[in-house]
């Protein structure tokens, strides 16, 4: 098919963005129209917004088994992580000056900790094994007398690995250290229960489960001290000032409500597609490595490293075939730096450059996977023919 001609589009990039649920959009529309009131106003217009806010808060709380007063709305998963890491660390500064983080945390966690260095706090990075798993024993070893906060993500979207968060939370409780988990990649996808996990704070974002972008939340256990993230008025209990994004929050609430009912069905369907892809892609092309843990894995995610070629070149070629995917290669990042997650798993730079991440959305089908598996091998063959690394590999193999 000539480039630019109309073709089938297959969206396999859930981790970047999910389509907005029609139900969420419908729920949001009145708040982009006649229901424009400010939730802090006393009058009927304001109270209408206040009611919508409360309802959404309840729905989000129910999704993670929290109580409504423990949910703080934010603008993104990154904000939630910033809020938790900086807010908890600085509010508990008198108890110590040390943080423990996993090496595969999202940059919003790692860079928050980096910012805290300016305030005299230091952090230790806990390594992961080659499947991206954190060993809770390593977390325990990294905790010092000065440690006030531990942060290990619930699941990593880039490699799909689900971390043993409940076990780590138990260790933190025993050592009287706060525990935050970035669950942005997990909430709405797999069951998350803040009480069963035993976490002190948890980040989630609506755009990871078919809600609108710009609408996320932080769960913070009742009674914990945290520094306000935005100083201002009384919104979000005075801890995150600023007029609420009512439409976004309503969309998030609706997406949370629907996620709670459809999660199992969605996961089962995605898992079937994921497993076919994980099985068939390495069958079709040699030197394709699955990244992340095979079992402790997000149901909708399949990630690989394709040896001897680079991710961006693959993404561009896939895009021309109508397929949208992601990569952690240096070239695809604006920073031109290979994914810290893949490097932390012990992959060398050349292999990490061949990173590809496929993640399924609700309406993907078996035909989509079939199409991907069919167009993939010629793309790889063409790029490998161009690759000096592949030529070197063939020469060495021939020797």
């Amino acid at each position: 098919m000539p480039w630019g001609a109309k073709m089938r589009r297959i969206y396999l990039d859930h981790i970047a963005a999910t389509p907005l649920l029609p139900e969420s959009r419908e729920a949001m529309l009145p708040f982009l129209g006649e229901r424009f009131g400010n939730a802090q106003s006393l009058h009927a217009d304001g109270q209408m917004a206040q009611e919508a806010l409360t309802e959404a808060r309840t729905k989000v709380a129910e999704l993670v088994h929290a109580s409504e007063s423990e949910i703080y709305f934010t603008s993104s998963g990154s904000e939630s992580n910033n809020f938790a890491i900086k807010g908890l660390a600085l509010a508990n500064r008198s108890r110590g000056n040390h943080l423990v983080l996993s090496a595969v945390e999202h940059l919003s966690v790692l860079n928050s900790a980096k910012s805290l260095e300016k305030f005299g706090l230091t952090s230790a990075l806990v390594p992961v094994d080659k499947t991206g798993l954190v060993d809770p024993k390593d977390v325990e070893k990294a905790i010092t007398k000065e440690t006030i906060l531990v942060s290990v993500m619930m699941a990593n979207s880039e490699i799909g690995t689900i971390e043993p968060v409940a076990e780590i939370a138990k260790i933190c409780q025993a050592r009287n250290v706060l525990f935050h988990t970035d669950a942005v990649a997990a909430v709405g996808i797999i069951p998350v229960d803040v009480k069963a996990l035993g976490v002190d704070s948890l980040s989630l974002a609506g755009d990871q489960f078919y809600g609108p972008k710009g609408s996320a939340a932080l769960f913070l256990k009742k009674g914990l001290r945290i520094l306000p993230f935005i100083d201002g008025g009384v919104q979000e209990g005075g801890r995150r000032g600023g007029t609420e994004n009512i439409a976004g929050i309503v969309g998030l609430g609706k997406a949370a409500e629907i996620a709670a009912t459809r999660m199992a069905e969605r996961a089962e369907k995605a898992k079937a597609l994921r497993d076919v892809l994980i099985r068939r892609l390495p069958e079709k092309v040699d030197h394709v490595i699955l990244t992340g843990h095979r079992e402790s894995r997000l149901p909708h995610q399949a990630s690989f490293c394709v040896e001897f070629i680079e991710g961006e070149a693959m993404l561009l070629n896939l895009d021309m075939k109508g397929i949208a995917a992601s990569s952690g290669s240096a070239c695809t990042s604006k920073a031109l730096k290979a994914s810290h997650v893949l490097l932390a798993m012990g992959l060398d730079h050349a292999t990490a450059q061949g990173s590809l991440v496929f993640s399924f959305v609700e309406d993907n089908t078996a035909e989509d996977v079939g199409y991907l598996v069919e167009v993939f091998p010629p793309i790889i063959e063409r790029l490998r023919k161009m690759s000096p690394l592949y030529t070197k590999y063939l020469e060495e193999k021939g020797k």
């Binding site: 480039w3 001897f308 070629i309 680079e310 991710g311 961006e312 070149a313 561009l316 021309m320 290669s329 240096a330 070239c331 695809t332 990042s333 604006k334 920073a335 031109l336 730096k337 290979a338 060398d348 730079h349 050349a350 450059q353 023919k385 161009m386 690759s387 000096p388 690394l389 030529t391």
Partner: protein, 199 residues
Amino acid sequence: MIYSEKVMDHFQNPRNVGVIPDADGIGEVGNPVCGDMMTFYIKVKNDRLADVKFQTFGCGAAIAVSSMVSEMAMDKTLQEAMAITNDKVAEMLGGLPKNKLHCSNLGADALHKAIEDYEAKHKPGAKEAAAAGPAKGAEVHAEDEACCCPYCEGPLEGMEAVCSCHHCDIELEECPECGKYTNKADETCVNCGARLAKS
């Protein structure tokens, strides 16, 4: 689309891809840390580039740059080919995204290295060097390892065994084990984990 039509054309239909088995000169630049590696092969006849081929590991920009350089250099005299600059290549491609100018736009450098390799082999008394074969390129590219800081995206200051990253405000040194840059103050190499000797 992040790339110009011209870039996408060269990326989709790269000219002169391949290896010249009996090349007169070979030039390599780049390393996988930055994501891009290019190898250029040349055949020289009567001081002209009779054939130019390349192989590239890298992003769309790196592949398009290599292809464009091969096209620009073909049939040119060695002197003309040495006058091709990375900037000119980017211009001929209708521009490159800003963040690609540094790491991916190395095609002219690789071509120049291939020509230097040819000249080294064909200068009087350079027969011994020629016997060492095309390995030369691999040795030369050590200086290009410095193309970015391993901790941030930033360019490095200085191209010596020790250099610094202004963004991270650290001094970097080459790891004796893997040859990549790592924080001088650290005990182990960030790339390979080898223990760094402290003086």
